[in-house]
């Protein structure tokens, strides 16, 4: 296979995953959330149990008027949704689906890359918050930036723990080094990573920046139509990215009960969807954290736990070596 063809195939694969997986997760959220609340959820669009609801939503968003507030900083306002979306697309590029280079772009320090680009998302929050010329947007954006900056620390620390355990920063390398007993050993790191990841994508119960009962819709208040859809899409891609990262770092990625070599992609996808289900489940079950509780959880619980896990990992590594 020539190089360019391989490149095209990889890019097309990543873009397809980028477009399909969030829709699947979104639809799952519709249905799971509905059934957890004793409802049915969407039932009409597409016929069978409303499977095409999100496509219908997309069509609706395209048709809506694209409003830019008069006082807004137009260029920044319009650029923000794209900036929110692109980091997750880049992150999907390096997450391995299966063994033998079944990944968009194998990268030697993929973990670093993912954490770096996911961290860029906070710029989009600040851009949209400030450019909207709306006090609710600004408040939401400041809350969001504070939250994202704070939770980035436990996220990176927990990821560092598993990278230290595996002795590599490459995501496929981490999966290869993973052993089932890591589930026990790295459990605190996994919890910290998962919770911090939830906060990074601003999912409930960490949706203080978009707390709709007090801030209208936070930094997304002024957005309509396609741009708003971009923010929503970014949220769902964020779910996929966080679930995939948790899978790859802590749940063994493509390692399954049998047939890793040719069924690896299936195990990865199953795990990703299981973690996504848990993310949705948490959203339905828990109320939103208040702003001070949010920061306290980050600095007084997650960071110390992550640091302790780091010490433990270093100790075990030294003991083994």
């Amino acid at each position: 296979m020539p190089v360019w063809l391989e490149l095209v195939v990889r890019v097309v694969g990543v873009v397809a995953a980028f477009l399909v997986l969030p829709l699947v997760v979104g639809q799952a959220e519709h249905k799971v959330m509905a059934h957890m609340q004793g409802r049915l959820g969407p039932m009409y669009a597409g016929g069978f149990h409303g499977w095409a609801q999100l496509i219908a939503d997309g069509v609706k968003f395209v048709q809506k008027e694209d409003v830019t507030p008069r006082e807004a900083d137009r260029a920044v306002f319009r650029l923000a949704p794209v900036v929110a979306l692109v980091p997750y697309l880049l992150a999907l590029l390096v997450i391995p689906l299966g063994p033998n280079d079944l990944v968009g772009q194998p990268l030697d320090i993929g973990l670093f890359f993912v954490l770096a680009v996911v961290g860029v998302g906070v710029v989009a929050v600040l851009m949209s918050a400030w450019a909207s010329a709306n006090k609710y947007s600004l408040l939401g954006g400041l809350r969001g930036a504070a939250q994202l900056l704070g939770y980035e620390l436990p996220l990176v620390l927990a990821a560092a723990s598993v990278a230290m355990a595996a002795g590599t920063l490459s995501l496929p390398g981490i999966v290869e080094a993973w052993r089932p007993w890591w589930l026990l050993w790295q459990a605190p790191a996994m919890l910290v990573f998962f919770v911090a990841g939830l906060a990074e994508i601003r999912r409930p119960p960490f949706d203080m920046p978009v707390a709709d009962s007090e801030l209208v819709f936070g930094y997304m208040t002024e957005y309509t139509g396609l741009r708003f859809a971009f923010f929503l899409l970014a949220e769902y891609v964020g779910i996929v990215v966080i679930a995939a990262l948790t899978t790859v770092l802590f749940l063994g990625g493509w390692q399954g009960p049998f047939g890793d070599a040719y069924l690896g992609w299936l195990w990865t996808l199953i795990k990703v969807f299981l973690v996504s289900f848990v993310i949705i489940w948490l959203r339905v079950s828990y109320p939103r954290l208040r702003e001070d509780q949010l920061q306290r959880l980050c600095w007084l619980v997650l960071v110390p736990v992550a640091l302790g896990q780091l010490v433990l990992t270093a100790g075990v590594r030294l003991a083994i070596a």
């Binding site: 030697d108 670093f112 860029v120 710029v123």
Partner: protein, 167 residues
Amino acid sequence: MTTADVLMLALGAVAVGAGALVVTTRHLVRAGLYLVVSLGAVAGIFLVLTAELVAWVQLLIYVGAVVVLLLFAVMLTRAPIGAADDLDRPGWPATLVGGGTGLGLAVLLVDAYRWSTVELPEPGTAERLGTEIFGSWVLPFEVLSVLLLSALVGAIAVSVRIPGRRR
């Protein structure tokens, strides 16, 4: 001119252009966003120079944290949307000194390197860079961690407001 040269020229143009906008724009927040572009372009140059880890660290720390802190500060100090007129002081000395410094350095470096070429080094893996840091430079590394800690404590000490006590 190789591909690397073309890439670096383009990224360098972006970096310098965005940097010029940072120091000349009259929109406070946009200055921060231009800074993001400039730093991102510099990270791109790092990538071309095969300093992969440094590039991602640049992205993680600078774009993800430093610029966000700057934007945060801009918004907390009541930045207006749109142009502000009182951002600059009269510019002749600054132009002279800044331009002199930049152009002088550029002339110096151009004179030193001319149009010579070097081979790009092997892509630096994180492992070798780690060996370097924790081998030859472990003492500065430790000193830096102390510096970071003291900066953290200092920042908290400066910005904390003790209830009941007027500052």
